[in-house]
C-alpha cells in the first residue's frame, strides 16, 4: 500500500478519481457511454468529469452498445485509450460480438500487429439495489473470464477500485472492469497520491489457518463478516479476494489452500459454470494432495433474478450461509 496521506472515500468516488486522474495524465484517454456526460452517469460515477474535460473526452453516446464497443476498439487502434461505460453489465450482452470477437482477439488473430487498450466499466450484481429484477442485477463475470484475450477485474474496496482502474487503463489489453453496484456507497481508505494496484494480484483480506475462503466483490465482504464471526468461535478463516478474475493469481490461492487444506468458494453469480467452478478446478489440479476436505461452493441460485423481495432474498448467499458452511467443514460434517 502506498504510503502517504489517506482519507475515507466511497467506492464510487474512488472510481471517479481514477478516471479523473487518467484523463488528466494521458491525453489519449477518453470516456464514452450513455449519459456519462453532463448527467454524470446512471450511478453518478462520472459526475463532474464532463465539466472538467469537456464533451470530446467525456462523450455522451447513443444507446448502441455493440457499436460503442466497436468504436472503442477502433479508437484504440488509432492510439487512443478509451474507457467505455455500459450502464448495467446486463446490457453488455448487446456488445458481446465486439468484446468477445474483436477486443479479445484482434491482437492474436492479427499476429501481434496491434494492441487493444480498451476498458469496459460496468456495474453488476444485486443485493442492495432491491428489486432490480432480471435485467439489472446479474453477475456475468464468468462470461468474460471465459474468453481468451480479455482481462477481468472485480474490486471489492475503494482502494482496490481506484488502483485497479488506473492499472486497467494503463494496460495494453482489453480489460473488463466490473463494479458492484451495491458497493458504490462503501467507504474505505484511499491515498491522495496516484497509485496502481497491479492486475493479476490477489489480496489476502484476512489471514487465517483453518479454512481458505475465496470471494470477490460483495461476496468478499460477506466472507469477511463470516470470518469475523467465526474468529469468536475459534475458527481462523483466511479470506482471499482475487481482485482480478483473469488472469487469476493462482499462487496466492494455492499457497493458502496448501496451508489450510480446506477451501470455500463464494460467488454471487448463478452456480453453474461460474468462476467458483474455475477456482475449484484449479485448486484440484494444483493442490489435490493438500486437500483434507471437499471444496465447498456457495453461489447464487440457478434462476433469473426475481422482482419480489421475498423471492429475491432466496437468490444469493449471505454471510450466515458462509459461516455455516465453514462450521460444517471444520466440524467434518462436509
Amino acid at each position: 500500500m502506498t504510503a502517504g496521506h489517506m482519507r475515507e472515500i466511497t467506492y464510487l468516488q474512488a472510481i471517479n478519481e481514477a478516471l479523473r486522474e487518467a484523463l488528466a495524465e494521458d491525453p489519449r484517454v477518453f470516456l464514452m457511454g450513455e449519459d456519462i456526460g453532463q448527467h454524470g452517469g446512471a450511478f453518478g460515477v462520472t459526475r463532474g468529469l464532463w465539466d472538467a474535460f469537456g464533451g470530446e473526452r467525456v462523450r455522451d453516446t447513443p444507446i448502441s452498445e455493440n457499436t460503442l464497443a466497436g468504436a472503442a476498439l477502433g479508437a484504440a487502434l488509432t492510439g487512443m485509450r478509451p474507457v467505455l461505460e455500459i450502464m448495467f453489465l446486463d446490457f453488455s450482452l448487446l456488445a458481446l460480438d465486439q468484446i468477445f470477437n474483436e477486443w479479445a482477439k484482434v491482437r492474436y488473430m492479427y499476429g501481434g500487429q496491434c494492441t487493444a487498450p480498451v476498458v469496459l466499466r460496468s456495474p453488476q450484481g444485486g443485493l442492495s439495489w432491491k428489486s432490480a429484477g432480471a435485467h439489472h442485477a446479474q453477475s456475468l463475470e464468468a462470461l468474460f473470464v471465459h474468453i481468451p484475450g480479455l482481462k477481468v477485474v472485480f474490486p471489492s474496496t475503494p482502494y482496490d477500485a481506484k488502483g485497479l482502474l488506473k492499472a486497467a487503463i494503463a494496460d495494453d489489453n482489453p480489460v473488463i472492469f466490473l463494479e458492484h453496484k451495491a458497493m458504490y456507497g462503501d467507504r474505505g481508505a484511499v491515498p491522495e497520491e496516484p497509485y496502481r494496484v497491479p492486475l493479476g494480484v490477489a489480496d489476502v483480506k484476512r489471514a487465517g489457518d483453518d479454512v481458505t475462503v475465496i470471494a470477490a466483490g460483495k461476496m468478499c465482504h460477506f466472507a469477511l463478516d463470516a470470518a469475523a464471526l467465526l474468529a469468536k468461535e475459534g475458527i481462523a478463516v483466511e479470506v482471499i479476494d482475487p481482485r482480478t478474475l483473469k488472469p487469476l493469481d493462482e499462487e496466492t490461492i494455492f499457497a493458502s489452500v496448501r496451508k489450510t487444506h480446506r477451501a470455500v468458494l463464494v460467488q454471487e453469480a448463478p452456480r453453474t459454470g461460474g468462476v467458483a467452478a474455475e477456482w475449484g478446478m484449479r485448486i484440484v489440479e494444483a493442490c489435490f494432495d493438500w486437500l483434507d476436505a471437499p471444496i465447498v461452493r456457495l453461489a447464487g441460485a440457478d434462476v433469473p433474478i426475481p422482482y419480489a423481495h421475498s423471492l429475491e432474498a432466496k437468490v444469493w448467499p449471505r454471510s450466515p450461509d458462509i459461516a455455516e458452511a465453514i462450521r460444517k467443514l471444520v466440524a467434518l460434517e462436509i
Partner: protein
Amino acid sequence: MTRSISTETLEQMYEIMWRIRRFEEAAGAFYQAGRVKGGIHASIGQEAVATGVCFALRPGDLITSTHRGHGHHIAKGADLNRLMAELLGKATGYNRGRGGSMHMAAFDVGSLGAFPVVAAGVPVAVGAALGIKMQEQDRVVVAFFGDGAMAQGTLHESINLAALAQAPVIFVCENNQFAVSTRPENSLAVRDKVQWATSYGIPAWSIDGQSVDAVYDTSAEAVERARAGGGPCFIEAMTYRFEGHYFGEPQVYRTREEVDVERRDRDPIARLHDRLLARGVEPTTLDALNQAASEAVEAAVAFAEAGPEPDPETFADEVYSP
C-alpha cells in the same frame, strides 16, 4: 462530377485489379489442391470497388475489411508476399499464421483488419475515425461491407454514431447482390440505399461498381469531403460476385447463365482494358501489366511456399500484450 484520372493511374489500377484477380485465382488453386483448408471468399468480379476506393486514399488513411477482403488489402498496398503467406498459414504471413484468408490485416499500410462477422468492422471504422478526429489528424477511414451487412443493426448504429460525431468515415457498401445466397430484395425492405443512408443525414451515392473510374471519382469526392471535416458519407457500389460465397460453394440460388452474362458484359477488368485501349494505350502495354501482376502473384506464391510453418510452441503467444 467527373474527375480526370490520368492514364498512368488507370494503368496502375489495371495492374492492381489483375493482382487481385490473380491472387484469388491462386488462392482458388490452393483450395482445389487441398492446400488451404479454411474457407476462402473471393472478390473476383468486384476488383474495381476495392481498387477505385483505395486509389482515392492516402497511405496514412485507414480501412476496415471483411471476410471477402483480399482485394481491399492488395489495393491498399499490402505486401503480396505476406498476404499469400498468411493465406497459407505461414510464419512469414502478415498475421504469422494466426489469421488466414478471413482475418487479413496489414497495419503497415492502414488496414485495421478484416472482420468476418458481418458488419463488425464498421463500428471499428467509426471509432478509428473518432480517434483520428480527437487527435486532430487529417486522415480518413473507409469501412468496407457488403449488402448483407445492411441488415445488421450495428451498421445502422454506426452510421448514426458517425453522423452525430461528424466522424471522417466513408461507408462503402459493396453490393455484390448476394448475402451468401440471399438477394437484397429478400433481405432489405428499403431497396434504395441512397434513400436509406440519407435518412441519417449524410450524403450518399449509388454508383456502378464495375467502373473503376466511377468508383474512384465518387470515392475521391467523399474522401475529400471527410478529410475537410465534412463528416461521413455513404457509397453503394453495384457489383457482382463471379464466384460462389466461398470457393466450392454450390450456388444453387443462381443460374450459370446469369453468371456467364455478368462475366461477359460486366467484368470490371475487361471494361478498364477497353477504356485504356480507347485512351490509346498499346495492347502490349496492357499485356505487360497483366503479366507483371501474374509474376508478382507467382513470386508471392513462391515466397509463401518457401516460408516456414509457425513454430507450434508459439501457439499461445500474443494472446495478451505484455
